[in-house]
């Protein structure tokens, strides 16, 4: 059995690293893993998503709509954009803090993500909402949003790994001076 994970948000939010951390944890536990990520131009503030599959019996890094067990949305509108990938009965874990696209600011729209969150709440069987902005402020760095989101995914119990196992990979990946900060972020959603 495999777990399908869709991670999405805005380029620059640390989505690729989140996907890499889960993948690396799988590798270090001899669990098969495949993923596909957005790297390149879209990383500059565009819509970004990662497909991630963990477990036995996978032969393709992508999956179709309605096949994700978990949707980790780093931004409300981006979570809605990729929502069709979430399967019936799947869990959406969403950061409530919106990022206003420049195009929206220019047209004077006051996009605040609220209707996006309501949509997810109505349509996802299970949803977890996290105020990423508040979390980052409390932890003390705007750069740890990805660890907060990853921590929330672990806390949901749907990832096939424990917090300690993910933490182990994180320690091996980030610079030593940032380990404590990231640990704090991973544990924040508990």
């Amino acid at each position: 059995m495999s777990t399908n994970i869709m991670i999405c948000g805005v380029g620059g939010q640390g989505i690729v690293l989140t996907s890499k951390l889960i993948a690396a944890t799988a590798v270090s536990h001899d669990v098969p893993v495949m993923s596909a990520e957005t790297i390149g131009m879209a990383q500059k503030g565009g819509s970004v998503f990662s497909f991630l599959r963990v477990g036995e019996g996978i032969n393709c890094p992508m999956f179709g709509e309605g096949e994700a067990d978990i949707l980790i949305g780093f931004e409300p509108a981006e979570a809605v954009r990729m929502f069709p990938y979430l399967k019936k009965g799947g869990t959406a874990i969403v950061n409530t803090h919106p990022i206003m696209p420049v195009t929206a600011a220019l047209t004077g729209s006051d996009y605040d993500g609220r209707n996006m969150l309501e949509y997810i709440e109505r349509n996802a069987e299970k949803s977890v909402f996290i105020d990423g902005d508040k979390a980052c402020t409390e932890i003390g760095s705007p750069k740890v949003l990805n660890m907060v989101m990853l921590g929330a995914a672990v806390a949901s119990g749907l990832l096939p790994f424990t917090l300690e196992e993910i933490e182990q990979t994180m320690k091996a990946t980030v610079k030593p001076q940032f380990v404590e900060l990231n640990s704090k972020a991973l544990r924040y959603p508990r």
């Binding site: 805005v10 380029g11 620059g12 996907s19 890499k20 993948a23 799988a26 590798v27 669990v31 098969p32 893993v33 495949m34 993923s35 596909a36 990520e37 957005t38 790297i39 390149g40 131009m41 879209a42 500059k44 503030g45 565009g46 819509s47 032969n59 393709c60 890094p61 992508m62 999956f63 179709g64 709509e65 309605g66 509108a77 981006e78 809605v80 954009r81 929502f83 069709p84 019936k88 990022i99 206003m100 696209p101 420049v102 195009t103 929206a104 600011a105 220019l106 004077g108 729209s109 006051d110 996009y111 605040d112 209707n115 949509y119 109505r122 349509n123 902005d133 980052c136 705007p142 949003l145």
Partner: protein, 598 residues
């Protein structure tokens, strides 16, 4: 990552030298090679793909196993040496790693390197998974050495940037290759029409042999081997093969052929596949290579098999395939029920989110300075390839043309010769300047163009992930070397006026542009300020609500993602703002301020 697997697989195959030029989705192949190098291997970021190709060829002439890496449009730059090298051949194994980008996700074109393989008559390998890249790259080296020819290896984005747990070789299984050294033989290494004629005859004969040999290559798969019952088949390749497998999970039909060597096409294997079939659907990304080959084979052998795909409009002819699109194509072809869509509430209108220049990006300041300086004047702004292509977005709207690497500097000259009353600008990044804009600048000086060359020097190759280049004073191996000074280069080729200014000092930058652009002839402005991603941000800007009249000029002028609208008012997005201070210089009411300090 697929790219890392390619590098590790090549190292296990006894790689001696790697050269390349950064380009998504190929960049990490060379970076991983540098990281994993034991020290006996030579790795470099070359100044462009042509240089990288020629360097790798020279090393392969000596018997070294070499790899040269680039993206598909990079192959256009390197095609001059490669086309000739196909005739000359190599001694050591040489793999030309070209990453294709269906979509395109990060490229100017949807060109297909499999088609280039047929054009250049070079063997081509098309991997479908991360594991396969690792296993197959060694086989590519073997084939290259056996036939003394460079070979193409062309993964696509989803293979390059896919992650997978794979099985790797133990270090004691690694091959080693001791290059013999260059053996002088002008009848072999010097290209002349007579040699090319003979080489052409040999190449055509070799490719017939190769088509036979590759027909029994285990990676040109046919599953199941015998067509039983079902008279339909699917021919596919690369990552699409995995989508097909996914769509056919738990099904024994239809029959599938995976074409791993699109050139020379494994004709005998294809005939075995077509045996007993009435109809074949080709599922491909980019060009209909397999579809054309199968159609040709059916015609040649008088087979009554209908070949369908892009040419018959059964599969869309542009963009990337997905699990969903392939499942749909197969269902339509087989007459199966379409994969059902779950009835869900329609999503609220989504904001569009195109890529933009980062908050704090110095290019925004550079474009804005030129825009301000040229207000009311007839001017043209020719852009180029890099992050700064994003200067096209509203509200900056400062890229009138963008074609390919280094094109802007020449395009602006062409416009100037036809429209002499236009003030002509060309924008180019520092890495692109070294890669392919110097010749354009020489052309401008020699032919007495009237133009301003604007060099956006952020001290890195930002778009592809911050690779060093000749102006940075660092190599990919971390050596510190002499920096090549852009000002000195421009003075050296005869550009007399070269002014350097920090674009984040807006007033000074605008004055510099006005002054320099008013001179006749070729002149240059270097906007020097480091990429916002590689420096530590300053404290975010602060908007004084007392002074802010909510005119939103900051937003309308700059379009910085660091300024948003909250409850109807302009507000700083603290998680993105780098404190560059550009907006504080644009605000007419002095309402925005930045403080020194990290």
């Amino acid at each position: 990552m697929g790219n890392a697997a390619i590098a590790r697989g090549a190292i296990a195959a006894g790689l001696n030298l790697v050269s390349g030029y950064p380009g998504t989705p190929s960049t990490e192949v060379l970076e991983t090679s540098a990281k994993c190098s034991s020290g006996s291997m030579y790795v470099e970021w070359s100044v462009n793909e042509k240089a990288a190709m020629e360097l790798a060829a020279g090393a392969a002439y000596c018997g070294a196993r070499t790899m040269v890496t680039m993206k598909q449009v990079g192959l256009n730059v390197a095609s001059d040496p490669l086309m000739s090298l196909a005739y000359i051949g190599v001694k050591g194994g040489m793999v030309v790693l070209v990453a294709d980008d269906p979509g395109p996700i990060s490229s100017q074109t949807e060109q297909d390197t499999r088609t280039f393989a047929a054009f250049s008559k070079l063997p081509c390998f098309d991997p479908s998974s991360v594991q396969e890249t690792y296993d197959m790259i060694g086989e590519a080296f073997e084939l290259s050495e056996k036939y003394h020819t460079p070979v193409l290896f062309r993964p696509t984005t989803r293979v390059c940037h896919g992650y997978a747990s794979i099985t790797v070789k133990d270090e004691d299984e690694f091959k080693t290759n001791e290059p013999e050294g260059f053996v002088r033989d002008p009848s072999k290494w010097v290209i002349f029409p007579r040699l090319s004629y003979n080489a052409h005859i040999n190449i055509e004969a070799r490719n017939v042999t190769l088509s036979e040999e590759l027909s029994s290559y285990s990676r040109n798969l046919i599953i199941p081997e015998k067509a039983e019952g079902c008279r339909k088949g699917i021919a596919t390749h690369g990552i699409s093969y995995t989508y097909v497998t996914e769509a056919l999970r738990d099904k024994s039909a239809p029959r599938v052929m995976k074409v791993t060597t699109p050139f020379p096409f494994p004709e005998k294997a294809a005939l075995a596949f077509l045996e007993g079939l009435d109809e074949v659907l080709c599922i491909e990304e980019l060009d209909p290579v397999i579809e054309r080959e199968l159609t040709y084979i059916c015609g040649k052998h008088g087979l009554n098999v209908k070949i369908r795909g892009k040419l018959t409009h059964d599969v869309k002819n542009a963009g990337e395939n997905t699990c969903g699109s392939v499942a749909g194509n197969i269902a339509a072809f087989m007459g199966w029920e379409m994969p059902g869509k779950t009835e869900a509430e329609a999503a609220p209108a989504l904001p569009v989110r195109p890529p933009v220049l980062c908050a704090g990006c110095p290019h925004r300041a550079s474009f804005f300075a030129v825009k301000e300086a040229m207000k009311g004047k007839k001017a043209v702004f020719c852009g180029d390839i890099g992050c700064y292509t994003l200067g096209n977005a509203m509200p900056l709207d400062m890229v009138d043309t963008c074609l390919c690497m280094g094109a802007g500097v020449n395009i602006t000259q062409g416009i100037g010769h036809i429209e002499p009353d236009t003030v002509c600008f060309a924008f180019v990044g520092d890495s692109t300047f070294f890669a392919s804009a110097i010749t354009g600048a020489v052309n401008a000086v020699y032919n007495q163009a009237d133009m301003t060359l604007v060099i956006l020097d952020n001290s890195t190759t930002a778009m592809t992930g911050h690779q060093p280049h000749p102006g940075t004073g660092r190599t990919v191996m971390g050596e510190i070397v002499e920096k090549i000074d852009i000002t000195a280069v421009l003075h050296g080729i005869g550009v007399k006026t070269v002014e350097t200014v920090n674009p984040l000092e807006l007033k000074k930058a605008v004055e510099t542009v006005k002054r320099v652009a008013s001179e006749k002839g070729v002149k240059a402005i270097i906007f020097k300020s480091p990429c916002a991603v590689i420096i530590k941000p300053e404290k975010p800007a602060v908007i004084d609500p007392e002074k802010c009249t909510n005119c939103k000029k900051c937003i309308r002028s700059l379009g910085c993602p660091g300024i948003v609208i909250k409850d109807g008012r302009a507000a700083i997005e603290n998680s993105l703002c780098t404190g560059c201070g550009l907006c504080s210089q644009v605000c007419p009411f002095g309402a925005i301020s930045v403080k020194e300090g990290k």
